[in-house]
Symmetry: C2
Subunit: 299 residues, 2 copies
Protein backbone atom coordinates (compact mmCIF):
# COMPACT_ATOMS: atom_id res chain seq x y z
CA UNK A 1 0.00 0.00 0.00
CA UNK A 2 1.39 3.41 -0.95
CA UNK A 3 1.85 5.35 2.34
CA UNK A 4 1.06 2.24 4.37
CA UNK A 5 3.40 1.70 7.30
CA UNK A 6 5.73 -0.72 5.50
CA UNK A 7 6.10 1.69 2.61
CA UNK A 8 6.88 4.54 5.00
CA UNK A 9 9.50 2.45 6.82
CA UNK A 10 11.13 1.53 3.55
CA UNK A 11 11.31 5.16 2.46
CA UNK A 12 12.71 6.19 5.84
CA UNK A 13 15.41 3.49 5.59
CA UNK A 14 16.37 4.81 2.16
CA UNK A 15 16.64 8.34 3.59
CA UNK A 16 18.96 7.04 6.29
CA UNK A 17 21.14 5.41 3.60
CA UNK A 18 21.23 8.58 1.54
CA UNK A 19 22.11 10.81 4.47
CA UNK A 20 24.89 8.54 5.74
CA UNK A 21 26.43 8.39 2.28
CA UNK A 22 26.32 12.16 1.93
CA UNK A 23 27.72 12.78 5.40
CA UNK A 24 30.67 10.47 4.75
CA UNK A 25 31.35 12.46 1.58
CA UNK A 26 31.12 15.78 3.47
CA UNK A 27 33.29 14.56 6.32
CA UNK A 28 35.89 13.13 3.96
CA UNK A 29 37.40 10.72 6.48
CA UNK A 30 34.90 9.28 8.97
CA UNK A 31 32.82 6.20 8.25
CA UNK A 32 29.57 5.16 9.87
CA UNK A 33 29.50 2.02 12.00
CA UNK A 34 26.16 0.25 12.26
CA UNK A 35 24.45 -1.36 15.24
CA UNK A 36 21.30 -3.35 14.65
CA UNK A 37 19.07 -3.79 17.65
CA UNK A 38 15.79 -5.44 18.49
CA UNK A 39 13.16 -4.36 20.95
CA UNK A 40 11.75 -7.14 23.16
CA UNK A 41 8.14 -6.01 22.71
CA UNK A 42 8.42 -5.61 18.92
CA UNK A 43 10.55 -3.98 16.24
CA UNK A 44 14.02 -2.57 16.45
CA UNK A 45 16.40 -0.29 14.69
CA UNK A 46 19.51 0.46 12.72
CA UNK A 47 21.74 2.93 14.52
CA UNK A 48 24.67 4.40 12.62
CA UNK A 49 27.40 6.35 14.33
CA UNK A 50 30.31 8.28 12.87
CA UNK A 51 32.98 8.82 15.52
CA UNK A 52 35.95 11.12 15.36
CA UNK A 53 35.79 12.03 11.69
CA UNK A 54 37.63 14.94 10.09
CA UNK A 55 34.66 17.26 10.67
CA UNK A 56 32.19 15.32 12.76
CA UNK A 57 33.22 14.42 16.29
CA UNK A 58 30.11 12.38 17.02
CA UNK A 59 27.30 11.91 14.56
CA UNK A 60 24.34 9.62 14.87
CA UNK A 61 21.85 8.77 12.12
CA UNK A 62 19.29 6.36 13.49
CA UNK A 63 16.44 4.53 11.89
CA UNK A 64 13.90 2.70 14.00
CA UNK A 65 10.63 0.88 13.56
CA UNK A 66 8.99 -0.15 16.80
CA UNK A 67 5.56 -1.54 17.57
CA UNK A 68 3.60 -3.47 20.12
CA UNK A 69 1.19 -2.95 22.99
CA UNK A 70 0.79 0.55 24.42
CA UNK A 71 2.09 0.11 27.98
CA UNK A 72 0.50 1.71 31.02
CA UNK A 73 3.40 4.13 31.37
CA UNK A 74 3.03 5.18 27.70
CA UNK A 75 -0.72 5.72 28.18
CA UNK A 76 -0.19 7.77 31.29
CA UNK A 77 2.89 9.76 30.45
CA UNK A 78 2.47 10.14 26.69
CA UNK A 79 -1.35 10.28 26.64
CA UNK A 80 -1.62 7.57 23.96
CA UNK A 81 -5.18 6.49 23.43
CA UNK A 82 -5.00 2.98 21.94
CA UNK A 83 -3.91 -0.57 22.61
CA UNK A 84 -1.24 -1.10 19.94
CA UNK A 85 1.10 1.35 18.29
CA UNK A 86 3.50 1.46 15.39
CA UNK A 87 6.23 4.10 15.13
CA UNK A 88 9.00 4.59 12.61
CA UNK A 89 11.44 7.41 12.14
CA UNK A 90 14.85 8.74 11.32
CA UNK A 91 16.70 10.85 13.88
CA UNK A 92 19.95 12.67 13.41
CA UNK A 93 22.20 14.69 15.65
CA UNK A 94 25.67 15.78 14.59
CA UNK A 95 28.31 17.30 16.84
CA UNK A 96 31.30 18.68 14.94
CA UNK A 97 34.73 19.23 16.47
CA UNK A 98 34.92 22.85 15.35
CA UNK A 99 33.08 25.39 17.54
CA UNK A 100 32.14 27.32 14.38
CA UNK A 101 30.19 24.40 12.93
CA UNK A 102 26.72 24.24 14.52
CA UNK A 103 25.15 21.21 16.13
CA UNK A 104 22.39 20.08 13.79
CA UNK A 105 19.35 17.91 14.36
CA UNK A 106 16.73 16.41 12.13
CA UNK A 107 13.90 14.03 12.80
CA UNK A 108 11.08 12.62 10.72
CA UNK A 109 8.67 10.19 12.25
CA UNK A 110 5.40 8.42 11.63
CA UNK A 111 3.11 7.09 14.29
CA UNK A 112 -0.08 5.05 14.14
CA UNK A 113 -2.45 3.47 16.63
CA UNK A 114 -4.74 0.46 16.18
CA UNK A 115 -7.67 2.87 16.43
CA UNK A 116 -6.70 4.01 12.92
CA UNK A 117 -5.31 7.37 14.05
CA UNK A 118 -1.97 8.27 12.51
CA UNK A 119 0.28 11.26 12.32
CA UNK A 120 3.65 12.51 11.18
CA UNK A 121 6.04 14.65 13.12
CA UNK A 122 9.51 15.99 12.72
CA UNK A 123 11.72 18.95 12.37
CA UNK A 124 15.11 20.26 11.59
CA UNK A 125 16.95 22.83 13.65
CA UNK A 126 20.36 24.38 14.00
CA UNK A 127 22.26 25.01 17.24
CA UNK A 128 25.35 27.12 16.62
CA UNK A 129 27.84 27.45 19.46
CA UNK A 130 28.44 30.92 18.01
CA UNK A 131 25.40 32.40 16.33
CA UNK A 132 26.25 33.84 12.94
CA UNK A 133 23.36 35.74 11.43
CA UNK A 134 24.15 35.02 7.80
CA UNK A 135 24.56 31.30 8.52
CA UNK A 136 21.22 31.25 10.32
CA UNK A 137 19.57 33.06 7.42
CA UNK A 138 21.04 30.69 4.82
CA UNK A 139 19.69 27.75 6.80
CA UNK A 140 16.18 29.16 7.16
CA UNK A 141 16.00 30.08 3.48
CA UNK A 142 16.59 26.52 2.36
CA UNK A 143 14.19 25.09 4.92
CA UNK A 144 11.53 27.59 3.89
CA UNK A 145 11.89 26.60 0.23
CA UNK A 146 11.03 22.97 1.07
CA UNK A 147 8.15 24.10 3.26
CA UNK A 148 6.78 26.37 0.54
CA UNK A 149 6.70 23.48 -1.91
CA UNK A 150 4.53 21.59 0.55
CA UNK A 151 2.16 24.23 1.85
CA UNK A 152 2.86 27.94 1.61
CA UNK A 153 1.46 28.62 5.07
CA UNK A 154 3.51 26.02 6.89
CA UNK A 155 6.93 27.65 7.20
CA UNK A 156 5.50 30.39 9.42
CA UNK A 157 3.58 27.90 11.53
CA UNK A 158 6.36 25.31 11.80
CA UNK A 159 9.11 27.83 12.47
CA UNK A 160 7.05 29.40 15.27
CA UNK A 161 6.49 25.91 16.62
CA UNK A 162 10.25 25.25 16.52
CA UNK A 163 10.92 28.45 18.41
CA UNK A 164 8.46 27.37 21.07
CA UNK A 165 9.62 23.75 21.15
CA UNK A 166 13.43 24.04 21.02
CA UNK A 167 13.49 26.22 24.07
CA UNK A 168 15.19 25.80 27.44
CA UNK A 169 12.36 27.25 29.52
CA UNK A 170 14.39 27.26 32.76
CA UNK A 171 17.05 29.40 31.06
CA UNK A 172 14.70 31.58 28.99
CA UNK A 173 16.95 30.67 26.13
CA UNK A 174 16.40 29.20 22.68
CA UNK A 175 18.34 26.03 22.05
CA UNK A 176 19.66 27.56 18.86
CA UNK A 177 18.51 29.57 15.86
CA UNK A 178 15.46 27.37 15.35
CA UNK A 179 14.25 25.85 12.14
CA UNK A 180 10.98 23.98 11.92
CA UNK A 181 9.09 21.59 14.16
CA UNK A 182 5.77 19.86 13.60
CA UNK A 183 3.79 17.10 15.26
CA UNK A 184 0.42 15.37 14.93
CA UNK A 185 0.28 16.23 11.25
CA UNK A 186 -2.28 14.15 9.37
CA UNK A 187 -4.36 14.53 6.23
CA UNK A 188 -6.66 17.47 5.84
CA UNK A 189 -8.74 19.07 3.09
CA UNK A 190 -5.81 20.05 0.98
CA UNK A 191 -3.10 17.59 2.10
CA UNK A 192 -3.08 13.86 1.53
CA UNK A 193 -1.10 11.34 3.54
CA UNK A 194 1.30 10.93 0.64
CA UNK A 195 1.81 14.73 0.47
CA UNK A 196 2.93 14.69 4.10
CA UNK A 197 5.19 11.69 3.56
CA UNK A 198 6.73 13.38 0.58
CA UNK A 199 7.36 16.54 2.64
CA UNK A 200 9.16 14.45 5.30
CA UNK A 201 11.28 12.78 2.62
CA UNK A 202 12.13 16.16 1.09
CA UNK A 203 13.34 17.32 4.50
CA UNK A 204 15.50 14.22 4.67
CA UNK A 205 17.04 15.03 1.29
CA UNK A 206 17.55 18.64 2.32
CA UNK A 207 19.47 17.67 5.42
CA UNK A 208 22.92 16.93 3.93
CA UNK A 209 22.62 19.99 1.69
CA UNK A 210 22.14 22.41 4.57
CA UNK A 211 24.74 20.66 6.69
CA UNK A 212 27.33 20.90 3.93
CA UNK A 213 26.67 24.62 3.71
CA UNK A 214 27.20 25.06 7.45
CA UNK A 215 30.38 22.99 7.37
CA UNK A 216 31.83 25.00 4.51
CA UNK A 217 31.11 28.28 6.26
CA UNK A 218 32.62 27.15 9.56
CA UNK A 219 35.47 24.74 8.92
CA UNK A 220 38.15 27.20 7.90
CA UNK A 221 37.49 29.81 10.54
CA UNK A 222 40.26 30.08 13.13
CA UNK A 223 39.87 27.71 16.06
CA UNK A 224 40.91 29.28 19.35
CA UNK A 225 41.53 27.14 22.42
CA UNK A 226 39.23 29.26 24.61
CA UNK A 227 36.38 28.54 22.22
CA UNK A 228 36.44 24.88 23.21
CA UNK A 229 35.18 25.65 26.72
CA UNK A 230 32.36 27.74 25.26
CA UNK A 231 31.51 24.99 22.76
CA UNK A 232 31.31 22.54 25.66
CA UNK A 233 29.11 24.86 27.71
CA UNK A 234 26.74 25.20 24.75
CA UNK A 235 26.78 21.42 24.41
CA UNK A 236 25.77 21.28 28.08
CA UNK A 237 22.68 23.36 27.23
CA UNK A 238 21.94 20.86 24.47
CA UNK A 239 22.08 18.06 27.03
CA UNK A 240 19.72 20.00 29.29
CA UNK A 241 17.19 20.37 26.50
CA UNK A 242 17.33 16.75 25.41
CA UNK A 243 17.06 15.27 28.90
CA UNK A 244 14.51 17.71 30.32
CA UNK A 245 12.20 18.52 27.39
CA UNK A 246 12.72 16.50 24.23
CA UNK A 247 9.67 14.42 23.27
CA UNK A 248 11.62 11.93 21.16
CA UNK A 249 13.98 11.22 24.04
CA UNK A 250 11.07 10.86 26.44
CA UNK A 251 9.15 8.59 24.07
CA UNK A 252 12.23 6.48 23.45
CA UNK A 253 13.09 6.02 27.10
CA UNK A 254 9.48 5.35 28.12
CA UNK A 255 8.76 2.95 25.26
CA UNK A 256 11.74 0.74 25.98
CA UNK A 257 13.88 1.84 23.05
CA UNK A 258 17.62 1.16 23.00
CA UNK A 259 19.20 3.67 25.39
CA UNK A 260 22.46 4.11 23.48
CA UNK A 261 20.51 4.88 20.30
CA UNK A 262 18.26 7.39 22.02
CA UNK A 263 21.11 9.12 23.81
CA UNK A 264 23.43 9.18 20.80
CA UNK A 265 22.24 12.81 20.61
CA UNK A 266 24.41 13.68 23.62
CA UNK A 267 27.87 15.07 22.87
CA UNK A 268 31.17 13.36 23.65
CA UNK A 269 31.98 16.15 26.06
CA UNK A 270 29.90 18.78 27.80
CA UNK A 271 30.65 21.35 30.45
CA UNK A 272 28.83 23.09 33.27
CA UNK A 273 30.96 25.80 34.74
CA UNK A 274 29.14 27.44 37.62
CA UNK A 275 27.56 30.73 36.62
CA UNK A 276 29.78 31.22 33.57
CA UNK A 277 29.47 34.80 32.33
CA UNK A 278 30.89 35.72 28.96
CA UNK A 279 33.04 38.82 28.71
CA UNK A 280 31.33 42.12 27.93
CA UNK A 281 31.22 42.74 24.23
CA UNK A 282 32.43 39.23 23.35
CA UNK A 283 31.01 36.99 20.64
CA UNK A 284 29.84 34.65 23.40
CA UNK A 285 27.80 37.43 24.96
CA UNK A 286 26.38 38.30 21.56
CA UNK A 287 25.31 34.68 21.05
CA UNK A 288 23.45 34.68 24.37
CA UNK A 289 21.74 37.93 23.48
CA UNK A 290 20.55 36.46 20.17
CA UNK A 291 19.25 33.32 21.91
CA UNK A 292 17.25 35.39 24.38
CA UNK A 293 14.87 36.77 21.80
CA UNK A 294 12.48 35.63 19.10
CA UNK A 295 14.22 36.36 15.83
CA UNK A 296 12.68 35.99 12.42
CA UNK A 297 15.85 35.13 10.51
CA UNK A 298 14.25 35.85 7.15
CA UNK A 299 13.26 39.44 7.93
Amino acid sequence: VISGKDHISTEFRAIQDHICQELERIDGAGKFAEDLWQRTEGGGGRTRILSDGAIIEKGGVAFSEVYGPVSEVMKKQLGLNGEHFFATGVSIVLHAHHPRIPIIHMNIRYFELDSGAYWFGGGIDLTPHYVNESQAKAFHEKVKAVCDDFDVRCYRRFSDWAHEYFYNVHRNESRGVGGIFFDHLSESDNLSKSDILSFCLQLGRLFPVVYQEQVEKGRNLPLLEKEILWRNIRRGRYVEFNLVYDRGTKFGLLSGGRVESILMSLPNTAAWEYNFQPEKGSEEENTLALLNQRIDWLQ
Copy 2:
Protein backbone atom coordinates in the same frame (compact mmCIF):
# COMPACT_ATOMS: atom_id res chain seq x y z
CA VAL B 1 8.63 28.90 68.10
CA ILE B 2 10.88 25.85 68.37
CA SER B 3 10.57 23.91 65.09
CA GLY B 4 8.63 26.74 63.50
CA LYS B 5 9.74 27.62 60.01
CA ASP B 6 12.04 30.47 61.03
CA HIS B 7 13.75 28.27 63.57
CA ILE B 8 14.24 25.53 60.97
CA SER B 9 15.69 28.01 58.45
CA THR B 10 18.09 29.32 61.04
CA GLU B 11 19.27 25.82 61.91
CA PHE B 12 19.68 24.96 58.22
CA ARG B 13 21.77 28.11 57.67
CA ALA B 14 23.99 27.09 60.57
CA ILE B 15 24.43 23.63 59.02
CA GLN B 16 25.48 25.25 55.75
CA ASP B 17 28.06 27.33 57.64
CA HIS B 18 29.40 24.31 59.48
CA ILE B 19 29.67 22.17 56.33
CA CYS B 20 31.43 24.89 54.31
CA GLN B 21 33.94 25.42 57.10
CA GLU B 22 34.64 21.70 57.35
CA LEU B 23 34.93 21.25 53.59
CA GLU B 24 37.47 24.07 53.33
CA ARG B 25 39.49 22.34 56.03
CA ILE B 26 39.27 18.97 54.22
CA ASP B 27 40.15 20.48 50.86
CA GLY B 28 43.06 22.42 52.31
CA ALA B 29 43.20 25.00 49.50
CA GLY B 30 39.82 25.88 47.99
CA LYS B 31 37.56 28.54 49.44
CA PHE B 32 33.82 28.93 48.98
CA ALA B 33 32.50 31.93 47.09
CA GLU B 34 29.01 33.06 47.97
CA ASP B 35 26.15 34.23 45.77
CA LEU B 36 23.06 35.64 47.40
CA TRP B 37 19.94 35.56 45.29
CA GLN B 38 16.32 36.57 45.60
CA ARG B 39 13.26 34.96 44.13
CA THR B 40 10.74 37.34 42.59
CA GLU B 41 7.74 35.59 44.15
CA GLY B 42 9.31 35.36 47.62
CA GLY B 43 12.45 34.23 49.41
CA GLY B 44 15.86 33.47 48.03
CA GLY B 45 19.05 31.72 48.85
CA ARG B 46 22.71 31.62 49.68
CA THR B 47 24.67 29.54 47.19
CA ARG B 48 28.26 28.70 47.99
CA ILE B 49 30.61 27.22 45.44
CA LEU B 50 34.13 25.90 45.82
CA SER B 51 35.84 25.77 42.42
CA ASP B 52 39.08 24.06 41.55
CA GLY B 53 40.28 23.25 45.04
CA ALA B 54 43.04 20.78 45.88
CA ILE B 55 40.52 17.93 46.23
CA ILE B 56 37.18 19.34 45.11
CA GLU B 57 36.85 20.31 41.45
CA LYS B 58 33.35 21.71 41.83
CA GLY B 59 31.44 21.73 45.07
CA GLY B 60 28.16 23.43 45.81
CA VAL B 61 26.60 23.90 49.23
CA ALA B 62 23.33 25.76 48.84
CA PHE B 63 20.86 27.06 51.34
CA SER B 64 17.50 28.35 50.22
CA GLU B 65 14.29 29.56 51.77
CA VAL B 66 11.53 30.17 49.26
CA TYR B 67 7.84 30.88 49.69
CA GLY B 68 4.84 32.34 47.97
CA PRO B 69 1.76 31.33 46.04
CA VAL B 70 1.58 27.76 44.72
CA SER B 71 1.56 28.33 40.95
CA GLU B 72 -0.61 26.39 38.52
CA VAL B 73 2.43 24.52 37.17
CA MET B 74 3.44 23.53 40.72
CA LYS B 75 -0.07 22.30 41.47
CA LYS B 76 -0.24 20.29 38.30
CA GLN B 77 3.26 18.91 38.02
CA LEU B 78 4.14 18.58 41.69
CA GLY B 79 0.66 17.74 42.97
CA LEU B 80 0.76 20.43 45.67
CA ASN B 81 -2.55 20.89 47.37
CA GLY B 82 -2.53 24.39 48.83
CA GLU B 83 -2.41 28.06 47.98
CA HIS B 84 0.84 29.15 49.65
CA PHE B 85 3.99 27.21 50.37
CA PHE B 86 7.18 27.62 52.31
CA ALA B 87 10.28 25.54 51.60
CA THR B 88 13.75 25.64 53.05
CA GLY B 89 16.68 23.32 52.63
CA VAL B 90 20.36 22.67 52.26
CA SER B 91 21.63 20.86 49.18
CA ILE B 92 25.13 19.69 48.50
CA VAL B 93 26.87 18.04 45.59
CA LEU B 94 30.64 17.64 45.46
CA HIS B 95 32.64 16.55 42.43
CA ALA B 96 36.28 15.80 43.23
CA HIS B 97 39.08 15.84 40.66
CA HIS B 98 40.29 12.36 41.53
CA PRO B 99 38.33 9.46 39.99
CA ARG B 100 38.82 7.48 43.21
CA ILE B 101 36.95 10.04 45.30
CA PRO B 102 33.19 9.52 44.93
CA ILE B 103 30.65 12.15 44.01
CA ILE B 104 28.63 12.84 47.15
CA HIS B 105 25.23 14.40 47.65
CA MET B 106 23.24 15.46 50.65
CA ASN B 107 19.96 17.26 51.01
CA ILE B 108 17.76 18.19 53.94
CA ARG B 109 14.58 20.09 53.35
CA TYR B 110 11.44 21.25 55.05
CA PHE B 111 8.21 22.08 53.32
CA GLU B 112 4.92 23.49 54.55
CA LEU B 113 1.61 24.54 53.04
CA ASP B 114 -0.90 27.09 54.31
CA SER B 115 -3.26 24.18 54.93
CA GLY B 116 -1.02 23.34 57.89
CA ALA B 117 0.50 20.25 56.27
CA TYR B 118 4.28 20.04 56.61
CA TRP B 119 6.97 17.50 55.97
CA PHE B 120 10.70 16.94 55.90
CA GLY B 121 12.67 15.20 53.22
CA GLY B 122 16.26 14.53 52.45
CA GLY B 123 18.97 12.02 51.97
CA ILE B 124 22.63 11.38 51.56
CA ASP B 125 24.12 9.14 48.94
CA LEU B 126 27.47 8.23 47.46
CA THR B 127 28.30 7.86 43.77
CA PRO B 128 31.76 6.37 43.29
CA HIS B 129 33.22 6.42 39.79
CA TYR B 130 34.87 3.17 40.85
CA VAL B 131 32.86 1.20 43.39
CA ASN B 132 35.01 0.04 46.27
CA GLU B 133 33.16 -2.31 48.56
CA SER B 134 34.92 -1.37 51.77
CA GLN B 135 34.41 2.36 51.09
CA ALA B 136 30.71 1.74 50.46
CA LYS B 137 30.43 -0.26 53.67
CA ALA B 138 32.21 2.41 55.74
CA PHE B 139 29.77 5.01 54.38
CA HIS B 140 26.66 2.99 55.13
CA GLU B 141 27.85 2.14 58.64
CA LYS B 142 28.12 5.78 59.62
CA VAL B 143 24.79 6.68 58.02
CA LYS B 144 23.11 3.76 59.77
CA ALA B 145 24.44 4.91 63.14
CA VAL B 146 22.73 8.30 62.75
CA CYS B 147 19.54 6.59 61.58
CA ASP B 148 19.56 4.18 64.53
CA ASP B 149 19.75 7.08 66.96
CA PHE B 150 16.61 8.49 65.38
CA ASP B 151 14.45 5.42 64.85
CA VAL B 152 15.84 1.90 64.72
CA ARG B 153 13.58 0.88 61.86
CA CYS B 154 14.39 3.76 59.56
CA TYR B 155 17.79 2.77 58.12
CA ARG B 156 16.24 -0.27 56.40
CA ARG B 157 13.33 1.77 55.10
CA PHE B 158 15.34 4.83 54.01
CA SER B 159 18.15 2.82 52.41
CA ASP B 160 15.60 0.82 50.38
CA TRP B 161 14.02 4.12 49.41
CA ALA B 162 17.43 5.45 48.30
CA HIS B 163 18.02 2.37 46.20
CA GLU B 164 14.69 2.90 44.51
CA TYR B 165 15.07 6.67 44.18
CA PHE B 166 18.71 7.10 43.06
CA TYR B 167 18.18 4.86 40.08
CA ASN B 168 18.59 5.48 36.36
CA VAL B 169 15.56 3.48 35.27
CA HIS B 170 16.41 3.75 31.55
CA ARG B 171 19.83 2.18 32.22
CA ASN B 172 18.69 -0.32 34.87
CA GLU B 173 21.54 1.06 36.88
CA SER B 174 21.87 2.51 40.37
CA ARG B 175 23.29 6.00 40.43
CA GLY B 176 25.84 4.82 42.97
CA VAL B 177 26.09 2.75 46.14
CA GLY B 178 23.04 4.35 47.68
CA GLY B 179 22.66 5.74 51.13
CA ILE B 180 19.35 6.98 52.47
CA PHE B 181 16.45 8.91 51.03
CA PHE B 182 13.22 10.01 52.69
CA ASP B 183 10.35 12.32 51.86
CA HIS B 184 7.01 13.42 53.31
CA LEU B 185 8.23 12.65 56.82
CA SER B 186 6.08 14.29 59.48
CA GLU B 187 5.24 13.65 63.09
CA SER B 188 3.76 10.34 64.14
CA ASP B 189 2.99 8.50 67.39
CA ASN B 190 6.60 8.12 68.38
CA LEU B 191 8.28 10.98 66.51
CA SER B 192 7.81 14.66 67.16
CA LYS B 193 8.54 17.43 64.71
CA SER B 194 11.64 18.37 66.68
CA ASP B 195 12.86 14.73 66.55
CA ILE B 196 12.72 14.86 62.77
CA LEU B 197 14.42 18.25 62.63
CA SER B 198 17.13 16.96 64.91
CA PHE B 199 17.63 13.91 62.65
CA CYS B 200 18.05 16.21 59.62
CA LEU B 201 20.58 18.32 61.52
CA GLN B 202 22.48 15.19 62.58
CA LEU B 203 22.71 14.17 58.93
CA GLY B 204 24.09 17.61 58.16
CA ARG B 205 26.77 17.20 60.83
CA LEU B 206 27.56 13.71 59.59
CA PHE B 207 28.17 14.92 56.07
CA PRO B 208 31.72 16.32 56.40
CA VAL B 209 32.72 13.33 58.52
CA VAL B 210 31.80 10.78 55.88
CA TYR B 211 33.21 12.91 53.09
CA GLN B 212 36.54 13.24 54.85
CA GLU B 213 36.70 9.46 55.17
CA GLN B 214 36.05 9.01 51.43
CA VAL B 215 38.65 11.64 50.55
CA GLU B 216 41.29 10.02 52.73
CA LYS B 217 40.67 6.61 51.21
CA GLY B 218 40.80 7.88 47.63
CA ARG B 219 43.20 10.79 47.40
CA ASN B 220 46.48 8.89 47.43
CA LEU B 221 45.48 6.13 45.05
CA PRO B 222 47.27 6.30 41.70
CA LEU B 223 45.53 8.48 39.11
CA LEU B 224 45.72 7.00 35.62
CA GLU B 225 44.93 9.11 32.57
CA LYS B 226 42.48 6.54 31.18
CA GLU B 227 40.46 6.81 34.37
CA ILE B 228 39.53 10.41 33.54
CA LEU B 229 37.36 9.30 30.61
CA TRP B 230 35.60 6.79 32.83
CA ARG B 231 35.11 9.40 35.54
CA ASN B 232 33.55 11.70 32.95
CA ILE B 233 31.27 8.95 31.65
CA ARG B 234 30.10 8.27 35.21
CA ARG B 235 29.53 12.00 35.62
CA GLY B 236 27.39 11.83 32.49
CA ARG B 237 25.17 9.26 34.22
CA TYR B 238 24.92 11.67 37.14
CA VAL B 239 23.72 14.39 34.76
CA GLU B 240 21.15 11.97 33.33
CA PHE B 241 19.76 11.22 36.78
CA ASN B 242 19.58 14.83 37.88
CA LEU B 243 17.95 16.13 34.71
CA VAL B 244 15.56 13.23 34.11
CA TYR B 245 14.50 12.10 37.60
CA ASP B 246 15.63 14.27 40.47
CA ARG B 247 12.73 15.80 42.43
CA GLY B 248 14.78 18.63 43.87
CA THR B 249 15.91 19.69 40.41
CA LYS B 250 12.36 19.46 39.09
CA PHE B 251 10.94 21.40 42.03
CA GLY B 252 13.62 24.05 41.69
CA LEU B 253 13.15 24.56 37.96
CA LEU B 254 9.33 24.55 38.21
CA SER B 255 9.15 26.84 41.22
CA GLY B 256 11.29 29.53 39.64
CA GLY B 257 14.43 28.92 41.66
CA ARG B 258 17.79 30.26 40.53
CA VAL B 259 18.95 28.04 37.68
CA GLU B 260 22.68 28.25 38.44
CA SER B 261 22.02 27.24 42.05
CA ILE B 262 19.83 24.31 41.08
CA LEU B 263 22.22 23.07 38.39
CA MET B 264 25.34 23.52 40.52
CA SER B 265 24.97 19.74 40.95
CA LEU B 266 26.17 19.20 37.38
CA PRO B 267 29.89 18.48 36.94
CA ASN B 268 32.39 20.76 35.19
CA THR B 269 32.88 18.07 32.55
CA ALA B 270 30.86 15.06 31.50
CA ALA B 271 31.18 12.59 28.65
CA TRP B 272 28.90 10.46 26.53
CA GLU B 273 30.93 8.15 24.36
CA TYR B 274 28.59 6.13 22.18
CA ASN B 275 28.05 2.64 23.56
CA PHE B 276 31.18 2.65 25.70
CA GLN B 277 31.93 -0.89 26.86
CA PRO B 278 34.53 -1.44 29.57
CA GLU B 279 37.18 -4.10 29.02
CA LYS B 280 36.42 -7.60 30.19
CA GLY B 281 37.64 -8.15 33.72
CA SER B 282 38.39 -4.44 34.27
CA GLU B 283 37.52 -2.42 37.35
CA GLU B 284 35.13 -0.41 35.21
CA GLU B 285 33.24 -3.56 34.30
CA ASN B 286 33.17 -4.58 37.94
CA THR B 287 31.68 -1.19 38.87
CA LEU B 288 28.88 -1.63 36.34
CA ALA B 289 28.16 -5.12 37.63
CA LEU B 290 27.86 -3.78 41.18
CA LEU B 291 25.52 -0.99 40.06
CA ASN B 292 23.26 -3.45 38.29
CA GLN B 293 22.13 -5.18 41.46
CA ARG B 294 20.57 -4.41 44.81
CA ILE B 295 23.37 -4.71 47.34
CA ASP B 296 22.94 -4.53 51.07
CA TRP B 297 26.36 -3.07 51.89
CA LEU B 298 26.09 -3.96 55.56
CA GLN B 299 25.57 -7.69 55.05
